[in-house]
């Protein structure tokens, strides 16, 4: 069905220009849950980190699990949208912005966890390299410092990557809205006009950013994996960790993207924009990542089992057949046994089943992060100080609250910004758009047939 520009505007800008009371109710509800997390955090700061379940030797628990999980989720967006942009995949158009927004918000949430888990969070600024009267600098050899740089670079890069293509849409809202919206979006649009020069510059910039952001995304999760791989802890100290984490991150990110898209499709009535083909294409990508994930975990486990190092075997047994085995096999089910048949058999690959698979992957990848961190710490070299871990209500509350926080941020985003890039969607209707890798004089000479729009 052909759509006119104004019809597209009406569809895609409606959430921005009209708000139902149900939205406010939902914001309050989700916000309350998110606020609970802050209450729990305040309680923890006031009384000491001991109110969380961490102990010796499992010094890291839910918080670092959530940290790795959310940073992983953040790979949904920018990475995938940058790859699709570079590959000039036409179906990317309605997907990129939802994906990039996930990146920014997941990073913001993920980056909170290193602060939440600190014993003295009020001194967290000591991680920043700033000149001070003590003359002291942070230790650049610490993987946590690498995290600081990598996450901040990625956050800033993804934010700009998300922001740039929003400028023309802000200009659109500016031109369509009245009153305060016109002023606010006029400010946000930075005076966008839409001259050929501006379009060309914007597309060049997006191209360069896409090239830059992919290695940054890869480096971010590699560095998160270095947090583990750099310490001589059995089953952490492994060269496979960097690619394994990056693959896992893209895997969980894709799943989160599918979930977010399904929700947007239902709630904002975008059925005509987010179509079966999008879920099908992303489902295929998810399938590839599921197989890749299984390959990595197989390689990791096989080398440990074959190497038969006593310290590593203790961790191996604890996860495979010991106290963590139920979690481990649930993870394998969620990450591999469930999604693979659902996504392989074409008849089963519907939107609903893709969403089910994605839900499984999100759960499974959270468990995977937990199973990497906790069993290894609980079974370090000297069996005399082996231990265990159980979360307390503080950790559980904060974990739940961050999920609510993600939903809240996403809801507000979808309310304030057209969640599908309006101008990119319009470009998708151009007869020659798909051939146009970039604007080159040769292509520009082509004259379109009459009545093409």
């Amino acid at each position: 069905m052909e759509k006119t520009a104004s019809r597209i505007n009406d569809d895609l800008l409606r959430p921005v220009l009209e708000t139902s009371p149900r939205f406010y109710l939902a914001v309050v509800l989700v916000g309350l849950v998110a606020a609970l997390g802050f209450v729990a955090w305040g309680y923890q700061i006031w009384n000491g980190i001991g109110v969380a379940g961490i102990s010796r030797p499992v010094f890291w628990g839910f918080y670092i699990t959530n940290f790795v999980f959310w940073i992983g989720i953040s790979h949904a967006g920018t990475l995938i949208s940058a790859i699709l942009r570079l590959a000039n995949a036409g179906w990317r158009r309605p997907v990129t912005r939802c994906a990039e927004a996930i990146t920014v918000f997941a990073l913001m949430i993920g980056a909170m966890f290193p602060l939440i888990h600190l014993g003295r969070p009020w001194l967290a600024f000591w991680l920043f390299p700033y000149p001070n009267e003590r003359g002291l600098w942070p230790n650049f050899r610490s993987p946590l410092l690498w995290d600081f740089f990598a996450i901040n670079t990625y956050l800033l890069g993804s934010f700009l990557f998300l922001l740039l293509p929003m400028l023309p849409d802000f200009a659109l809202v500016r031109d369509r809205a009245r009153g305060w919206r016109q002023r606010v979006y006029g400010w946000l649009a930075l005076g966008w006009e839409g001259t050929p020069r501006q379009w060309h510059r914007l597309e060049t910039a997006m191209h360069i950013m896409a090239v830059l952001i992919i290695p940054v995304a890869v480096s971010v999760h590699s560095i998160v994996s270095f947090d583990f791989a750099m310490s001589p802890v059995p089953m952490w100290h492994s060269t496979i960790f960097a690619p394994y984490f990056v693959a896992g991150a893209i895997f969980s990110g894709l799943a989160a993207l599918i979930l977010a898209m399904a929700l947007l499709r239902k709630l904002l009535h975008l059925e005509e924009y987010l179509r079966t083909e999008h879920f099908s294409n992303l489902g295929k990508l998810l399938l590839v990542m599921s197989l890749l994930w299984f390959y990595f975990i197989f390689a990791e486990r096989l080398t440990v089992w074959y190497g038969n190092d006593p310290a590593e075997m203790a961790v191996f047994r604890a996860t495979q057949s010991g106290p963590y085995a139920p979690l481990f096999w649930v993870m394998v089910f969620c990450n591999f046994l469930l999604p693979v048949p659902l996504l392989t058999i074409p008849r089963l690959r519907t939107i609903a089943s893709t969403v089910v698979a994605a839900l499984g992957v999100v759960v499974g990848m959270w468990l995977e992060r937990f199973l990497i961190i906790v069993p290894a710490l609980a079974h370090k070299f000297l069996p005399y100080s082996w231990g265990t871990y159980a979360p307390t209500w503080v950790e559980i509350t904060i974990t739940v609250a961050t999920f609510a926080g993600m939903v809240l941020l996403y809801m507000l985003f979808a309310k304030l910004v057209p969640v599908i890039s309006v101008w990119e969607w319009k470009v998708g209707r151009h007869p020659l758009a798909e051939q146009r890798a970039e604007i080159s004089p040769a292509v520009a000479k082509t004259v379109a047939p009459e009545g093409s729009a």
Partner: protein, 204 residues
């Protein structure tokens, strides 16, 4: 649609209840710990603050102005009378970690005969009668030293002047805060004099 509204209300109620519970729990926990005394760590050894406000003030280095001293002790007069800092009053400085403030008896060794009619000296005498120490107020008013160990004796042996850290006390009528004693101040001096700048030289 009625069930949906019901669910929403239930959810709202549970969330509010949880929020209140969290707040109450936090309040009860800290209150209980404070009143039964189990949370009372010795303030001499730890930088624990009595209140959140105090913690914030310490964090930003805001110190209250020293309160009025019970006795307007004038270092100037004593210095003019050639009483050396470390040889008679702050004897600890030359031999050990703590310089020390002389007690009432120490003051009265001289002041039983010197300037006995001075109102402040009479005050000292009343302290002695009541068998009390003079409630001096700390001039720098730092929180209990935060894991910093300072030893006076090695500094005196190395020939560091008292005034380097305490200001020109011999010119002061009532001692006032003159030097900002932060880590940068210590480290600068240590660097200049080729003393150890290792963390563990002071922090252990």
């Amino acid at each position: 649609m009625r069930w949906r509204r019901l669910v929403l209300r239930l959810f709202l109620a549970v969330a509010t209840a949880l929020l209140t519970l969290g707040l109450l729990l936090g309040w009860w926990d800290s209150a209980a710990m404070d009143t039964d005394g189990t949370r009372q760590a010795s303030p001499v050894f730890t930088p624990e603050r009595p209140s959140l406000g105090a913690a914030v003030r310490d964090f930003f280095g805001i110190q209250p102005e020293p309160e009025r001293q019970p006795i307007a002790f004038t270092h100037k007069v004593h210095a003019e009378n050639r009483i050396d800092c470390t040889s008679y009053c702050h004897t600890g400085a030359a031999v050990g970690p703590v310089a020390g403030i002389p007690g009432v008896k120490q003051c009265l060794i001289c002041h039983r005969t010197i300037a006995t009619d001075h109102p402040d000296v009479e005050k000292i005498a009343t302290y002695e009668e009541r068998d009390e120490d003079i409630p001096w107020q700390r001039v720098y008013g730092y929180p209990a030293p935060a894991h910093v160990k300072f030893q006076h004796a090695p500094h005196i042996r190395a020939g560091v002047n008292c005034s380097t850290c305490h200001g020109e006390v011999e010119q002061m009528t009532v001692a006032v805060r003159a030097v900002e004693l932060n880590m940068g101040f210590c480290v600068d001096c240590h660097r200049q004099h080729k003393a150890s700048v290792e963390c563990i030289a002071c922090h252990y």
